[in-house]
């Protein structure tokens, strides 16, 4: 991991990082990755990865109409609304 990686992943994660913060972040992430690398002390070549603690499969529900449209209720948390649409900065010139 290096400074360029931090800049790349912060862009992917949509988080702004100031230039003077990069070194600190790099140091702390490297420490975490060192801790994570301890996983390599165990050979897991023949182990099936575990994605669900109880090994259950996702259930499918019946395709029936559930809760009704509650757009007005949900949009009460946002003052940037126009006619049920969310207002954002111009995307296309």
């Amino acid at each position: 991991m290096n400074k360029e990686t931090i800049i790349k992943i912060s862009d992917l994660a949509k988080i702004d990082i100031k230039d003077d913060q990069i070194d600190d972040i790099l140091t702390s992430l490297e420490k975490i990755l060192n801790l994570v690398d301890e996983m390599n002390s165990v050979n897991t070549d023949n182990v099936t990865p575990m994605s669900h603690p109880l090994n259950l499969k996702q259930e499918l529900r019946k395709d029936i109409v559930g809760a009704s449209d509650e757009r007005e209720l949900f949009q009460k948390n946002n003052k940037h609304i126009d006619n049920g649409y969310y207002i954002v900065p111009k995307i296309i010139d």
């Binding site: 949509k14 801790l35 165990v42 575990m50 109880l54």
Partner: protein, 484 residues
């Protein structure tokens, strides 16, 4: 009245020795007097609580008594509560009013409980000391220079300080058990899938589980019965039948074989070891057999957790983009600028750190080395627990490697902070139920005893915990508080 347990308050209310309004006012006044020293609540919901309490009193007067009618409760501020602020300890949701209730909230409301407030927590449940909350540190009631643990620090501290008889919490890597240990209360994390996660703001979806804080195992059992069960709104919730945990835990105690993982005792602090060994002696004299077991990969739990949890958090927290709800930055140039500024202003340092680690672990070329490897380690840990449970009924150990640490002591050292959860994370990775209950003190600070069970063995855990509390009195000790 604040020293009464949930079980005792239930009787008082049913026998009309006190009304729900009187009880609500008592706890609200107590929080107003004492919580300025602790900061365990983000919001008090006094008006809402009085309205709920009046409704319950009217029902009681007409002979309709719900199972937990009129008992005050604090909800961790990670649970969505309709019409009330739900901040998740973050600036991102500082002004968010939830349009719906979490299933846990809905179930406890239906049981007749009265929500008095929302408790403080580490931001988005990411922390082990409650120092990452946007709303300030929570102080440990036993000594306000010390942390209460986290992430459910406010829920634990408020129960320890008798500001509330019970509260809810969530546990992704130890966030119920570690603060329960550090504040001297009971905290249970059920089996993954036992309790619905609907409306519980997601941190790491394959690890998160809701649970309860109380002062006794009996009270934990009472509340757990009411929050458990299948929920069509959470496809990972289990359809397994919910027992009456209160009834089960109070049945005559039958002998159990209990495993002690040798790895939990390696290099353990001397006082923690002494106190833990004393609790083994007490249980040995009272019907338990002990057996040494090995969980040799459990020490890799923190490493695997530091991949799985951040990876899932980076995905879950992508919903906070400044567009639909949550913090939105001003004066943004374009949509990318809106996303970046809103997220950078809305999230704190620890949350950003975990999002970055998670994004890195999931990025092209690194998935196999990190996420896939962590999922395999998870399987190894889970298999070791499964082997152990072929020989023992329950597993016992200390909840945390030490008592509470001072505020600020570990805040600049993320690794030291993550290692506070060394005894708790493995059970989340394996989806197992576990509980912490008070077992003694180191100097003046409480220590917790952790009981780990096999999947859906909550009744067994609660039975041992209740038995322990019949023969010891650690759970009755209370902190001396300013303003009390």
């Amino acid at each position: 009245m604040h020293n009464k347990t949930v079980s005792e308050l239930k009787k008082y209310l049913e026998e009309k020795k006190i009304s729900s309004v009187e009880l609500t006012k008592h706890f609200v006044d107590r929080i107003k007097t004492i919580d300025s020293h602790l900061n365990s609540f983000i919001s008090l919901t006094e008006e809402y609580a009085i309205t709920q309490a009046k409704k319950i009193d009217l029902e009681i007067s007409k002979g309709k008594i719900r199972p937990l009618a009129g008992i005050p409760l604090a909800q961790k501020d990670i649970f969505c509560t309709k019409g009330l602020k739900t901040t998740c300890g973050s600036k991102m949701l500082e002004n968010f009013i939830s349009p719906y209730n979490a299933t846990v909230v809905e179930k406890l409301n239906d049981a007749g409980m009265v929500i008095i407030g929302k408790t403080n927590m580490d931001e988005f449940a990411m922390g082990s000391s409650n120092e990452t909350s946007y709303f300030g540190d929570v102080k440990n009631p036993w000594d306000t220079e010390y942390v209460p643990g986290g992430s459910s620090g406010g829920s634990a501290a408020s129960v320890a300080a008798r500001l509330i008889p019970c509260s809810t919490g969530t546990d992704t890597g130890g966030s119920i058990r570690q603060p329960a240990s550090l504040t001297g209360v009971c905290g249970i994390k059920p089996t993954y899938g036992r309790v619905s996660r609907y409306g519980m703001i997601a941190f790491a979806s394959s690890l998160d589980q809701a649970g309860i804080f109380t002062r006794t195992a009996e009270d934990c059992a009472i509340l757990l019965t009411h929050i458990s069960g299948y929920d069509p709104k959470d496809s990972t919730s289990s359809r397994k039948e919910v027992p009456d945990y209160e009834k089960e835990c109070k049945q005559k105690f039958t002998s159990m074989t209990i495993g002690i993982p040798v790895e939990f005792l390696d290099g353990l602090d001397d006082t923690v070891k002494e106190v833990f060994e004393e609790s083994i002696k007490v249980l040995e004299k009272n019907g338990c057999k002990f057996k040494k077991i090995s969980l040799k990969s459990s020490k890799l739990g923190v490493s695997a957790y530091q991949v799985v949890a951040p990876a899932e958090c980076s995905s879950n927290l992508s919903r906070f983009d400044g567009v639909r709800f949550g913090h939105r930055a001003d004066n943004t140039k374009n949509i990318d600028d809106l996303y970046k500024k809103s997220r950078s202003e809305g999230f704190g340092q620890e949350v950003k750190r975990r999002i970055l680690i998670g994004t890195y672990a999931l990025s092209a070329g690194y998935y196999d080395a990190y996420y896939l490897k962590a999922q395999k380690i998870r399987k190894v840990i889970s298999n070791e627990f499964a082997e152990a449970f072929k020989e023992v009924d329950l597993i016992l150990g200390p909840t945390a490697p030490d008592c509470a640490f001072k505020i600020g002591e570990k805040s600049n050292d993320p690794i030291a902070m993550y290692l506070s959860d060394v005894f708790t994370v493995s059970t989340n990775l394996a989806g197992l139920p576990a509980m912490s209950l008070p077992m003694g003190f180191k100097n003046h600070l409480p220590l917790g005893l952790q009981i780990i069970g096999n999947h859906f063995d909550e009744a067994k855990i609660l039975s041992l915990a209740h038995h322990y509390q019949q023969i010891t009195d650690w759970h009755t000790k209370k902190p001396k508080l300013s303003g009390d």
